[in-house]
């Protein structure tokens, strides 16, 4: 593969990205690429910077240094008006779910489609119901997030991230609150999206997940990328 092909194929490209909050460095000099339709894990201990990396990707935070390109958009130079466009390409499963408390599960999930410009109520209803079925929450469609169990919230978050059929899925600990059954379901969904052509990026500290997949893994420690083996030691002890 020549250099131009490589560039063409890259959907995410981080180069020397640093993010600090005051004195705290969440990410330091991080460089990596993700090719289109990649299935990638990011792992590392608590506080390593995994969620911060995801935040930079959906522009929840701006990077302090370095440059990053996502699907042709340069995050360092993107304008305020373009941020929504970027975000609509990305489906994010947030670690803390970020469900809107006074909208039902259905309304939370449907909101993504409304934001994306879908007008037909019936199209939205159909797709949202399908997804709630897939994550195993068909009966909770009209429940409000504060009344859901931890695992149900997480599955609602998964449904919301997938409903817009995004080209990029960022999943921040998507199975942390789930029992093995439900985890399996969610992973199948992510794999299905991957099969459909989406690029999937999953952060996790669940070592079983890593061992079950033959996927690329990026190891982070204190905001720095570390080599696989060294980190593996860390993870498997």
């Amino acid at each position: 593969m020549n250099a131009i092909d490589a560039l063409d194929n890259q959907i995410i490209r981080f180069h020397g990205v640093t993010k600090h909050f005051g004195e705290t460095y969440a990410l330091r000099d991080l460089t990596f690429e993700v090719r289109k339709n990649d299935f990638l894990f990011i792992t590392g201990p608590s506080g390593a910077g995994k969620s911060t990396l995801i935040k930079l990707l959906y522009m929840g935070e701006r990077m302090s240094d370095g440059y990053a390109i996502i699907d042709g958009m340069n995050l360092a130079r993107i304008g305020r008006r373009q941020i929504p466009q970027l975000r609509r390409k990305i489906g994010v499963i947030f670690q803390d779910f970020k469900l809107i408390a006074n909208r039902t599960v259905f309304q939370n999930v449907a909101l993504v489609m409304e934001v994306a410009g879908f007008k037909s109520r019936s199209v939205i209803r159909q797709r949202v119901e399908d997804l709630l079925e897939l994550v195993g929450l068909p009966h909770q469609a009209d429940a409000y997030p504060p009344t859901l169990s931890g695992g149900e919230k997480q599955r609602a978050a998964v449904a919301r991230a997938m409903v817009g059929k995004p080209r990029i899925i960022l999943a921040d600990e998507p199975t942390a609150s789930l029992d093995p059954d439900a985890s399996e379901r969610v992973l199948q969904l992510l794999r299905a999206a991957h099969a459909r052509g989406a690029t999937v990026l999953i952060t996790t500290h669940d070592t079983r997940l890593l061992s079950r997949f033959d996927a690329r893994v990026i190891y982070l420690e204190s905001g720095r990328r570390v080599d696989g083996p060294a980190a593996a030691e860390n993870v498997n002890d």
Partner: protein
């Protein structure tokens, strides 16, 4: 657009507690402002009604005929600040004077002949602003060749206009200050509502909503709050007015004056201002919550 309305309405329902509290505050604010307006308008009218008792008397020279007097009256009636002019013969004048003096009138009974000349009685207009220059008016009238002398309750009128002016100016200043205060109160309330909703707004942005998607329903809600609040506030005033008014003016307290509710144009102006204030409150607060 239909979409925005639909979302605004469901937001309205979703946040019924917040919006209820806000609506109540706006209603109370409109109530205060319109109660003010009601008071000042009626007070102004009252003073206008009261000054009917005030008149400028222009004594005519003895050789002025009734016809000349009538012509002069027509001229004077054109003047700014003059409501009407009436002709009073010397005889009528004496009768009036006797009546005014009451018990003291006995001192006039010794008069062999009526020393009072014929006169024009000039009633100032209700429009007091023009009357502030009563002195000037009197001076002008004195300038006519037919007029021998001009007389009016100078001291009383000065006091009256002094009060009236002070009243008017302070009323305007007060109304302005209260309006600004109310504007800030409504803006503050909307600010608190958006503050309570900041997480929801933030999440909506994070899943890809652009500014318009977020802002339009919020503005619409603010307009709705403003208009519903305005209607509720005016309804409260209307209720208070018609339940308290009969008790306020027992018979005889003020027989010559009828207290009236706000004129329709003002009611409409208040409603529109209330919507505008809602919009403005939203405008001022929303920036804080749309920053990255």
């Amino acid at each position: 657009m239909i979409d925005v309305c639909r979302r605004a309405l469901s937001d309205f329902y979703r946040h019924r507690y917040l919006h209820g509290v806000c609506l109540f505050t706006i209603a109370l604010s409109v109530f205060i402002i319109s109660a003010f307006a009601l008071f000042f308008i009626n007070a102004g009218e009252l003073m206008g009604a009261w000054q009917q008792g005030i008149r400028i008397t222009a004594y005519l020279k003895p050789d002025v005929t009734k016809k000349q007097a009538a012509e002069l009256a027509t001229d004077i009636e054109q003047y700014a600040g003059v409501a009407s002019v009436s002709y009073v013969s010397g005889k009528e004048g004496l009768a009036w004077l006797k009546e005014q003096l009451g018990a003291g009138s006995s001192l006039l009974s010794d008069l062999k002949e009526n020393p009072l000349p014929d006169a024009l009685e000039i009633h100032p207009a209700k429009n007091m602003a023009a009357m502030a220059g009563a002195d000037r008016l009197a001076g002008k009238i004195a300038g006519f060749a037919e007029v021998s002398d001009v007389e009016y309750a100078r001291e009383w009128m000065q006091r009256f206009y002094g009060i009236y002016n002070l009243f008017k100016v302070t009323a305007f200043v007060m109304a302005g200050l209260v309006f600004v205060a109310i504007l800030f109160i409504v803006a503050n309330t909307i600010r608190l509502i958006l503050y309570s909703r900041r997480e929801e707004i933030e999440i909506t942005r994070i899943i890809g909503a652009d500014e318009a998607f977020i802002k339009h329903p919020l503005y619409l809600e603010a307009l709705m709050l403003g208009s519903f609040g305005g209607v509720a506030g005016l309804a409260m005033l209307y209720g208070a007015f018609f339940s308290l008014m009969p008790k306020l003016s027992p018979e005889g307290l003020l027989p010559f004056f009828q207290v009236r509710f706000l004129p329709l144009e003002l009611v409409l102006a208040i409603l529109i201002s209330s919507m505008f204030v809602g919009w403005l409150g939203c405008y001022f607060s929303i920036r804080r919550f749309l920053r990255v």
